[in-house]
Amino acid sequence: MMLTAAVLAKRELIKFWREKARVAGFAAAPLLFWFVVSAGFNDFARFYGGSIALALMFSAVFSNMTLIDDRKEGFLAGVLVTPAPRSGIVLGKVLGAALLAWLQSLIFLFFLPVAGLKPGFFGVLGCLGVLALIAILFTLVGFLCAWKMPSTQAFHGVVNMLLMPMWMLSGSLFRYEEAHPGMQMAMRLNPMTYAISLLNQCLGIEAAFSVGLSLALLAGWTLALFALALAWVGRSDYATT
């Protein structure tokens, strides 16, 4: 399983590097968003975590859009007729894409001083871990959407419909404690809420949930999506065109 996963993950990195346009474009938009919104509110710390999360969510989900090309170009069919373990195929695609998205999000950490945040060494280390978890969770979301979507256009539509509410209801835009009780219910169902809470803990900002609860729920969501991806890939009746 690990051999398959390593080969597929490495392939994602090589392809990313060879498609230079993809390397150039990342993280610019969320950085701009953060600057503008923060300058508008004159509070650079408040939207810092949310902006990293936004950048990460989108780059993670979209980095698995390559799965649609893999299917259209026949590469996937070629892999599915080999005895490569299905878990290795999911893990390889997800880890490769997650690593790329995670690396892109790290650019934000260079702006910590601008935000006026001093999380310290362990705080930064914690951030790296939480960002990795978010990256894996959302590459899985991307994987699942890409597996079912017939085209990249359909993928764009579905993903945007899914990601924006998840981000808005995560505590990035308004705080959990200040929200309407109905809204709080929705926020509690959203895995992103716990990710933002964890990120805030690491950055030394007031957080809505405890570290233990947040970690458990985030990990639970990730495992559940991984299991779902495995179940879908395991079915051999899969359109190859």
């Binding site: 051999l3 080969v7 090589i14 026949g74 590469f75 069919a77 005895p83 490569a84």
Partner: protein, 307 residues
């Protein structure tokens, strides 16, 4: 037994792609599946290559049931698709190394196998070329190399020469024939091209999900007595009636052309023309081809259907 397909029926909605299909393969030979589009060739190959589970019936490859032990089957077969599976942004060598890893190969053995496969198919010099820069023929050879890394017992090729020019097609077949000689790999190949089918050891003719004939190309052609007369008439239906009333040879009317089997075709031609004055537009004779065999067996089934 290398391959056993037992009573397999497969439907896409109301369309029956394979109907109670049975076939067996013991020897290491090149078996061709010949039939028009929609005859069930691709469905059969999808079942053999574990891409689809049989809806009813059983498929066994090297003694393993494809529905119950797909992984064991996958480890023993190599598959070449109609379309490209190579990654366009990776080089040939990178593609092959990745594929070998999917078969569990690693380290020195993996590199050795990749090198061997590239030499055998004559792509060693092009190993650093990206997938997107390969010509059709080169790409096909890389695809075969990819399917051979794990030394499969059976190679499954689904219309592998689609989109190739005649020279590349010929090269492809030379590579396949060499494989049978050197590695004694069993090869199943689907095609709708008669001249390609001639190169197989055994042919299975498929029509509408049924096997309509099976045998070596020469045996199949021998089922046609003598030569074939191809006759175009002003009014084909009327000509068919005249031929059936006045002559005892087998006659078929397919797509407006009359096909007459005759042991002494050169003597028959003047008699046929005399029998319907002014009706014949053109007439000629040829030795039996696989196309004639196919016309013969499929028109038989269609006659049976009408009856």
């Amino acid at each position: 037994m290398l391959l056993a397909v037992e009573n397999v029926t497969h439907r896409y909605g109301s369309l029956v792609a394979l109907d109670q299909f049975t076939m067996h393969l013991n020897r290491r030979e090149i078996v061709g599946l010949l039939g028009p589009n929609g005859s069930g060739k691709s469905t059969l190959l999808r079942l053999l290559s574990t891409q689809t589970k049989p809806q009813s019936g059983k498929v066994e490859v090297c003694g393993f049931d494809t529905a119950k032990h797909p992984q064991a089957v996958r480890a023993r077969i190599g598959v070449v698709f109609q379309t490209q599976t190579l990654d366009k942004l990776l080089t040939i060598e990178e593609n092959l190394l990745a594929c070998g890893a999917f078969y569990g190969l690693s380290g020195r053995i993996l590199h050795e196998r990749v090198r061997q496969a590239m030499y055998q198919l004559g792509i060693w010099d092009r190993r650093a070329d990206l997938g997107k820069n390969l010509s059709g023929g080169l790409q096909r050879r890389a695809e075969i190399a990819r399917a051979l890394l794990h030394e499969p017992q059976m190679l499954i090729l689904d219309e592998p020469t689609t989109g190739l020019d005649p020279v590349a097609r010929d090269e492809f077949w030379k590579a396949i024939e060499e494989l049978r000689e050197k590695r004694s790999t069993a090869i199943i190949v689907s095609t709708h091209l008669y001249e390609e089918a001639e190169r197989c050891d055994t042919l299975i003719l498929l029509d509408k999900g049924h096997r309509v004939a099976e045998g070596s190309p020469s045996d199949l052609k021998a089922t046609i007595g003598g030569q074939v007369i191809e006759l175009k008439a002003r009014n084909p239906e009327a000509a068919l009636l005249i031929l059936q009333e006045n002559f005892s040879m087998p006659v078929r009317l397919v797509d407006g052309v009359l096909w007459v089997e005759s042991e002494q075709a050169h003597l028959m031609i003047p008699r046929l023309v005399d029998a319907m004055p002014g009706e014949v537009l053109s007439i000629g004779l040829h030795q039996p081809t696989l196309a004639d065999v196919f016309r013969k067996v499929t028109s038989k089934t269609s006659m049976a259907v009408h009856a």
